[in-house]
Symmetry: C2
Subunit: 372 residues, 2 copies
Amino acid sequence: MHEITRRLVEFWRDDAKAEGMVPLHAPVFRGNEAAYVKDCIDTGWVSSVGAYVDRFEAMLAEATGVAHAVAVVNGTAALQVCLHLAGVRPGHEVVVPSLTFVATANAVSHCGAACRFIDVEERTLGLDPVRLDAHLTRHKDRPIKAVVVMHAFGQPADLDGLAEVCARHGVALVEDAAESLGSLYKGRHTGNHGLVASLSFNGNKIVTTGGGGAILTNDAALAKRAKHLTTTAKLPHPFRFDHDEVGWNYRLPNLNAALGCAQMEVLAEYVEHKRRLAERYDAAFAGLDGVRIFRETAEVRSNYWLTALLLDRPDRALIERVIEEASAVGIQCRPLWTPMHRLAMYGDCPRDALPVTESVADRLISLPSSPR
Amino acid sequence: MHEITRRLVEFWRDDAKAEGMVPLHAPVFRGNEAAYVKDCIDTGWVSSVGAYVDRFEAMLAEATGVAHAVAVVNGTAALQVCLHLAGVRPGHEVVVPSLTFVATANAVSHCGAACRFIDVEERTLGLDPVRLDAHLTRHKDRPIKAVVVMHAFGQPADLDGLAEVCARHGVALVEDAAESLGSLYKGRHTGNHGLVASLSFNGNKIVTTGGGGAILTNDAALAKRAKHLTTTAKLPHPFRFDHDEVGWNYRLPNLNAALGCAQMEVLAEYVEHKRRLAERYDAAFAGLDGVRIFRETAEVRSNYWLTALLLDRPDRALIERVIEEASAVGIQCRPLWTPMHRLAMYGDCPRDALPVTESVADRLISLPSSPR
């Protein structure tokens, strides 16, 4: 057993004994989840419209400080609509990190647009503003309509830097905040720094609605349009079925919003738990040569959605060995997502040099990080 | 008060008094809904994977006699993926009825394809095979890849006729069975007659998952592809994140599938209730000149999702008068959806003559039809 695995086993000894299994990330329901969901069933309000959807949206706006939140069916749908709101249409191009989950690139494809991959910074694992600036300058003749920054593992990217570059080039900045609910950049919640932002409430996120997402924006007109577009673009009328553009059926059911309301009540507690967990991991791996825990930069407060371990040097074999050794004793770890430019359907997309992405892809292990 | 309204008020007198309101269609949860949903929360299995998703899919296959069911996030997503499975890609064309809910046409748009509108038959309110045949013959040079038949109000269309025409022209037949779960055509459940079919479990459907849908097919390879495409096209592996094509995040959360399992347990009972309701409506409006209840054709068994009243002659003013009069006393009725060719975004789509659609649009009122 490698020393990394040994320390991991030591770290989780009591839990693994008690439950037989330490998942990478399992949701925790110890508040009002069952009560709110039962309320939906008792009242019959499980679907399109309902008080929990409104309340969930209000809680999201409150928690993030973004003026408007529109709840939708999942994070991919949220990002697709964000890009549509930013003017992305078939034939356009969108800059995204190659270091991300496939949903980021898929949302671009679902708009009929094409991805351009740019590298991330080692210190944030988020898009690199310097490389972005150079790329946008080099390709100013291309129809690049938006830049998507993804806050990997909950660590906010260099939002000031990226916002400045995007503003200078006249390209919309869109935040993929799927992993960063509860994360602050210079004291301000992620999702406030671009034109629009997307959230995810998938089962593996810090809080969950089963499946769900949201669109965040400080622009009232965009928020109204987001709601319209995600609810089949139906025109308000007591009974007529008129729709004025091609919309989506992307509304979040009230049943899922009810779960989300209960989860939002404990978000702050879960962030605290995850931050303490990252500290404990840091202590557990202290002094071990060649590895470190990925820690937040000075200007942010990360939600530490997943704590990640970083090797000093790429070693794919070691990463897979640790994951397999840990799995054998019931501890679930994961490698980084395969970078987008290595996937068959995105292999031909234009890309910048990606040295940090290439390196981190063979250096990172996600550690168990459930919020309890 | 018009005589139609008066008979409606008489019909619903006890209910309107007891509850103050008779909705067009409200879900009914009197079985295992609360227990199954609570089970998800107690076990933590609310999201992507879970036993209820598998069970719900098995129950759908069992109830419809279709070999494979793939649960997804809603009916629009289901139909979009059905069209994709039928080979519909950007630049292609798809024949759809103009008499349908906007989701049918939107699913075509979401594939990047364009709609062609064909008329329906008065006796079924479903696509007219004779007109379809003539249209496909006239436009055999066009890239028409699929025909979508929608079983309006649960009444199956002329599936033998449509299947024969589609086979002869080499165009895929896709069933939009959003409204026809529980409906049989010549003893066989809708969804069995084309290449693929879509279901919807929106809150207003005969059974609901809050929001949800499903893809049905008797082709094992298509079913496997449907599951792959709707779950981000991830390749099976213990821990690697590899995806081999642009997929969607369209899986149905386990929480919603749990609700669906409980609802499927009472589907047969709800169909019986709705069929009796249609008979009672028929009796209630018997002898009233100029109107009739829309009844099933001889070769089908309709689920009577919504009972519809048909005027003999178009009279938009009368339809809106009855809807408003009924609404004033708490009885919720609805007109037909605005036909697709009258909506701004579909007004320029190529279309056949639509005399039946034009006529029915100003002759139909949907009556309250909740399953209890």
